[in-house]
């Protein structure tokens, strides 16, 4: 219990909500036990098992016949350990955002399971779900679209507190002020509206909102991609400070591999709805075990004009997720593709030391060649 409340008001709110939860079915003992065990910092907090999300494509005369499906997430499994940051990278259309939304239960899954603290998120009653949402929060990409322009900062950040039982206005305001301070905003700005803030400050408001209920797990969906570079680093530092302060676990979704690698313990790479590689963040960069990861690494421009790198320019565009290629989905663009890749889908397997890759030829993927001029230290 001790790590959760940061001020009197919050713990008061907690008491209220937990009281109501006990009557609603879930015992507070269960929650406490789970939280107590969490202190050890081991074991998965979140387990994603063979998750599938298809969006039906409908058409026909009445617009109800099913013509096909966009296979946004197509059988993804991974787990996120307590206290770690799992990064998810991939290009647009790879399903990373959809995956995040399914985990948050913002959209229903097609198949598969997601367990949070050992409990299936998809089998919760609405009351249990409301309780679970305290623990799982989200920070969105666009700080302009994700804040209600007609609500003040105090209302935005305090709304979750109110919903979860902190109905006393004074208490709530005190809690909000505390949150604003923690994310580096001026407490005096509590009555201002989103349009009065810059992009970076808005993202801080979004982070304060996510923090309000003292969650354990935060899904960060492209939290810095709309920000300028000088602001981006401020927000990244804030996220890692808050992680230490509140023992948070992050699922960090972004397209920028450098940003993901900076913040993540482990990184998963997605391509067309599949997880193609999952490994320790530094290891992924040092020795990628999937040709797509390698191509992705080689495509990222390095801000150093003296470095000459091997460049793999992938042919063609991303195939449509409504009609993905047979076998390995990457075979149409893969420089290493063989006959087997067209017919047989490679499973995600351990290629050594927990480094997972879904490639038939994972062992043959060589590290990216990087040449520095003589005399320049690596």
């Amino acid at each position: 219990m001790t790590e959760r409340p940061i001020s009197e008001p919050t713990s008061a709110a907690q008491a209220t909500t937990e009281g109501s939860m006990t009557s609603g079915g879930q015992t507070s003992a269960q929650r406490t036990a789970a939280r107590g065990g969490a202190g050890a910092g081991a074991g998965p907090l979140l387990e994603v098992n063979d998750l599938v999300k298809h969006f039906d494509i409908r058409g026909g005369l009445l617009g109800i016949s099913k013509l096909g499906a966009v296979r946004a997430v197509d059988g993804v499994s991974f787990s996120v350990n307590e206290g770690e940051t799992l990064g998810l990278v991939g290009e647009s259309g790879c399903g990373k955002t959809t995956l995040g939304k399914v985990i948050l239960r913002l959209i229903p899954p097609t198949a598969g399971r997601v367990n949070f603290e050992g409990k299936s998120l998809f089998d919760l009653s609405s009351r249990e779900l409301k309780a679970a949402r305290r623990d799982i929060q989200v920070v969105f990409q666009d700080p302009y679209a994700s804040l209600n322009p007609r609500m003040s900062v105090g209302e935005i950040v305090g709304e979750g507190l109110y919903v979860h039982g902190m109905t006393n206005k004074k208490e709530r305001e005190a809690a909000v002020r505390d949150l604003l301070k923690r994310v580096g905003l001026n407490q005096a700005h509590i009555h201002r509206y989103p349009h009065e803030f810059s992009g970076g400050q808005r993202q801080r408001i979004g982070i304060a909102r996510a923090l309000a209920l003292r969650p354990k797990f935060i899904v960060c969906d492209e939290p810095v991609s709309a920000l300028d570079v000088s602001i981006q680093s401020q927000v990244l530092n804030l996220l890692s400070d808050l992680q230490d302060e509140f023992q948070l676990t992050y699922l960090f979704i972004a397209h920028n591999l450098a940003v993901v690698k900076h913040l993540s313990t482990r990184v998963g790479v997605m391509y067309l709805g599949k997880l193609v590689e999952l490994s320790d963040a530094d290891e992924l960069y040092r020795s990628p075990a999937h040709p797509y990861t390698k191509a992705l690494l080689s495509a990222i421009p390095v801000p150093d004009p003296t470095v000459r790198r091997e460049r793999i320019v992938l042919k063609g565009d991303l195939p449509s997720p409504a009609n993905p290629p047979s076998g390995c989905r990457f075979h149409t663009r893969c420089p290493m593709a063989q006959e087997i890749c067209k017919t047989e889908e490679p499973p995600l397997r351990d290629v050594g030391g927990g480094h997972m890759s879904a490639c038939h030829f994972a062992e043959e993927v060589t590290p990216l060649e990087i040449r520095r001029p003589v005399g320049v230290p690596a």
Binding site: E91, S92, S198, G200, Q201, D228, V229, S230, I231, Q232, S233, Q234, L236, N237, S240, H255, L257, A258, V259, K261, H262, L263, D282, Y285, A295, L296, L297, S298, A299, I300, P301, V302, P303, D304, P305, T306, V307, R311, V313, L314, G316, D317, L318, I370, A378
Partner: protein, 354 residues
């Protein structure tokens, strides 16, 4: 090929350009006394964060500034001819013929109701006396050049049928169909995925060598600049704060803003616990500080920074708008210098970069 006389000297010279926007809330000096030049075949990277004036600079070159904006001072010389003095009709010939531009968002720059081939052919016919048939053939040829597979079929398709990367290729094909001397690329790959960005940058690199075309590459991505540019201009709040060849800017930057930018980006090849940050935010263009525009965020701030800093040459071909000496030390006038003394020193140190 444009039949201009080969002018000796740089292809494009921007001198003391000032583009201001007269808004209800006051005058926004989006571009304030910007000077730089681009030589034939050179790629100049213009970097800076949102609102630094990099896009407005390029739009000023094309004379595409709308009210309430106005170019209030300066010269834009293309092959020695002042574009700002040209009549509107003559300017129309310059656009597309000598200078082409591609934008960040290819979907909004293409007309959704015409086929891609038609749009490229139209540009060709506007600028060269060719038949419809020849223009169409040229369009297909250009689409091949920029790496569009099955160009014949693609030419008959509408923009919505193409992916983002393909659309940007069509934009580039269109921009290059008239063989311009200068291509202005405003964040050409920002909306694209990295693997597609790599393809587009490759196309631009190829074309640059083949056509000896100069490129003004506007971007916020320092990685793209490091890969593409020969020379770099760093802008902040409407002013050029640093300019040098690409290796100098990345290797031994002088201006604290440039240094801060380079340190604040997470890098793939390094592991740091914390990123360096530039504190604070870009000042509001309606409420700029006096003296150095960067002073409120600068870790080296001195009292002398309340006076506008000199634009000094801190190394061969390396310019910086900062009070620090070329070696990065306190200026000779003293860190506490103010008023007339500081102003005189700034004037003395400032170099003419013509």
């Amino acid at each position: 090929m444009t039949v201009t006389e080969r002018h000796v000297g740089p292809l494009l010279e921007i001198k003391g350009l000032k583009t201001h926007f007269f808004t209800q809330d006051g005058v926004v000096k989006a571009v304030d006394d910007v000077t730089f030049q681009i030589s034939h075949g050179q790629t100049l990277g213009v970097v800076g964060e949102s609102g630094c004036g990099k896009s407005v600079t390029s739009l000023s070159v094309m004379r595409l500034i709308d009210r309430p904006g106005r170019i209030v001072a300066g010269e834009v010389l293309l092959n020695g001819e002042d574009l700002l003095a040209k009549r509107d009709a003559d300017m129309r010939d310059v656009r597309g013929d000598q200078v082409s531009m591609i934008f960040q968002e290819p979907m909004t720059s293409l007309n959704p109701v015409f086929t891609c081939g038609d749009q490229i052919a139209e540009a060709v016919q506007q600028h060269t006396a060719v038949s419809r048939r020849e223009a169409w053939d040229r369009a297909i040829e250009m689409m091949r050049v920029v790496g569009i597979a099955d160009a014949k079929r693609r030419a008959g398709e509408h923009p919505h049928q193409l992916s983002g990367g393909m659309r940007q290729r069509v934009m580039i094909a269109m921009a290059l169909s008239t063989d311009p001397d200068l291509l202005i690329a405003d964040e050409p790959t920002t909306a694209l995925d990295v693997t597609i960005q790599a393809q587009i940058l490759e196309v631009m690199r190829d074309l640059r060598t083949k056509n000896r075309m100069a490129i003004m590459l506007i971007t916020h991505d320092l990685g793209v600049v490091a890969e593409m540019a020969d020379e770099v201009v760093v802008m902040y709040a409407g002013k050029v704060v640093e300019r040098a060849d690409v290796r100098t800017v990345f290797g031994t930057p002088h201006h604290p803003y440039t240094k801060g930018l380079l340190l604040s980006i997470p890098r793939l090849d390094e592991r740091v616990e914390r990123l360096e940050v530039i504190k604070g935010t870009v000042p509001s263009p309606l409420n700029l500080p006096t003296g150095c525009l960067f002073k409120r965020r600068c870790p080296y701030r001195m009292r002398v920074c309340d006076t506008a800093p000199p634009y000094q040459e801190v190394g061969p071909g390396h310019f910086s708008r900062c009070w620090l000496t070329p070696a990065g030390e306190e200026p000779a006038v003293g860190a506490d210098a103010t008023g007339d003394e500081a102003e005189a020193a700034a004037e003395q140190l400032t170099v003419e970069t013509r």
